[in-house]
Amino acid sequence: MQESLNFTPFLLSFKLASITAIILFAISLPLAWYLAHTRSKYKPFIEALTALPIVLPPSVLGFYILYALSYNSPIGAFFEEYFGIKLVFSFTGLVVASCFYSLPFMVQPLQNGFESLNKHMIEASYIAGKSTLQTLFQVALPNMKPALLSAFIITFAHTVGEFGVVLMVGGSIPGETKVASVAIYEMVEIMDYTTAHIYSAIMLIISFVVLLSVYLFNAHHTRRFGL
């Protein structure tokens, strides 16, 4: 039997996922709103850029982020010199990397949500004298709760599940960058299959419960509001 189970990797994963989801929500809200309403010819370019992390191998994304954030790049040097923040092999670096990695999982559900709203309802709010911001928070978002929930949960779950990017940008510093997925990888490497089993089972159960709650909420919402 291995020495007592260490749950720090899970706490770290959830902390990372929560912070990432909140930051991404703030970033994605204006971006998704813009994409849902623009008629600009640049829209496909922005959409393709946003969707890149879905198809890009995590190692490629991780490599570029590592390259951009390291002390050898202007960005990394700037943050370290002026703010004293080290962006690689640190928790902050993981947050930055996760924001790139999970961006499409926040933007796309929000954009779909905005696009499926009745356009006239938004216009009625403008005619009522409400600003875009008031319309967004008082009319648009309350009428797309399933999309909102999907965006949050899927971003959260996707961030918890990331492995390649985290390993490349963060490494495996206990209590700092060693998240659950990396910890499982290490347990298998050192052939501690018992711990790997327990960790994996916990991930499996949490992921299932999270997804189940999304689908249950959406089913309930559909019945109640016929959306």
């Binding site: 216009e123 009522a128 409400k130 509001f225």
Partner: protein, 287 residues
């Protein structure tokens, strides 16, 4: 007074066309806007509301709403708009829908009473019928006591009695708030009862512009026209007769041999009657 001189290229159901309107609408006027679907009626309302761009100029009581450099956002136009699909805020109750526009509880209550919706003010739009939603949409549009009220077929989902009641009420409120109203409608009695001016659009252009009285009675003043459909032609030896469906009613009309030759069953026809005499019979039962 509203000075309208606008042009907009449209890609309608019948290909490309140009919406063009150059007219002046007086303060307090009630304009009915009619024309076939795809003639640009709704687009015109949307341009007036600031929901769509157009070329030209819009001047409302010395306030500029639109010209080549400037477009006044809908928020600053002091208008009311009733959308054809009602577009109620689904996340708010009926009362909240009204109060979202203006925090005037007294006015909200008054409007809900007039439209017989008071008992439903705490319900959500999903729980209402089409006609009820339409009434809420009308109330909501009036909450700002708008200078310009734009209505896109506001009574289409209502039944006869409610329709009439709301028409009267709209007219009262139109006068009370001294609103200028532009209403898209296909209903002739509505045009006649409500509007002081009737504009007919065809392919984006104004083809007629006068009072409803002048336009609706222009050609055939005291003629009754009924649209019907031939059900059957019956040969009755010395003459023919046609069974014709007029809405829910069937009538039989005597025909000459030649007339019968030209008719076929399921053909659409127009029955026209000359001078009519009133023949009231109170004991008539309607089946």
């Amino acid at each position: 007074m509203i000075d309208i001189n606008i042009t907009k290229a449209l890609h309608g159901a019948h290909g490309a066309m140009e919406l063009h309107l150059n007219t002046t609408i007086q303060q307090g006027e009630f304009v009915a806007l009619t024309g076939k679907s795809g003639s640009g009626k709704t687009t015109l309302l949307r341009i007036l509301a600031g929901l769509e761009k157009a070329e030209g100029k819009l001047l409302v009581e010395e306030t500029l709403w639109l010209d080549a450099q400037y477009i006044c956002p809908p928020q600053q136009r002091e208008i009311g708009f009733v959308f054809q699909d009602y577009a109620l805020f689904e996340n708010m109750t009926i009362e909240q829908n009204l109060l979202f526009v203006a925090k005037d509880k007294t006015l909200a209550q008054h409007l809900l009473e007039v439209t017989e919706l008071s008992s439903m003010k705490n319900r959500y739009p999903k729980a209402l019928s089409g006609g009820q939603k339409q009434r809420v949409a009308l109330c909501r549009a009036l909450m700002k006591k708008p200078k310009l009220l734009l209505l896109d077929e506001p009574f289409s989902a209502l039944d006869g009695a409610m329709r009439e009641k709301l028409q009267k009420e709209l007219l009262t409120l139109h006068k009370e708030f001294h609103t200028t109203t532009i209403m898209v409608t296909h209903n002739k009695s509505e045009m006649y009862q409500l509007a002081s001016r009737l504009i007919v659009l065809e392919n984006g252009k104004v083809v007629q512009d006068a009072t409803p009285q002048e336009l609706l009675f222009a050609q055939e003043k005291d003629k009754l026209k009924l649209h019907g459909k031939v059900v059957e032609i019956v040969n009755k030896q010395e003459h023919y007769s046609a069974i014709i469906a007029l809405g829910q009613q069937l009538v039989e009309i005597t025909l000459t041999h030649q007339e019968a030759q030209n008719l076929t069953p399921s053909q659409e026809i127009i029955l026209q009657a000359g001078t009519l005499h009133l023949n009231l019979n109170e004991s008539d039962t309607i089946f």
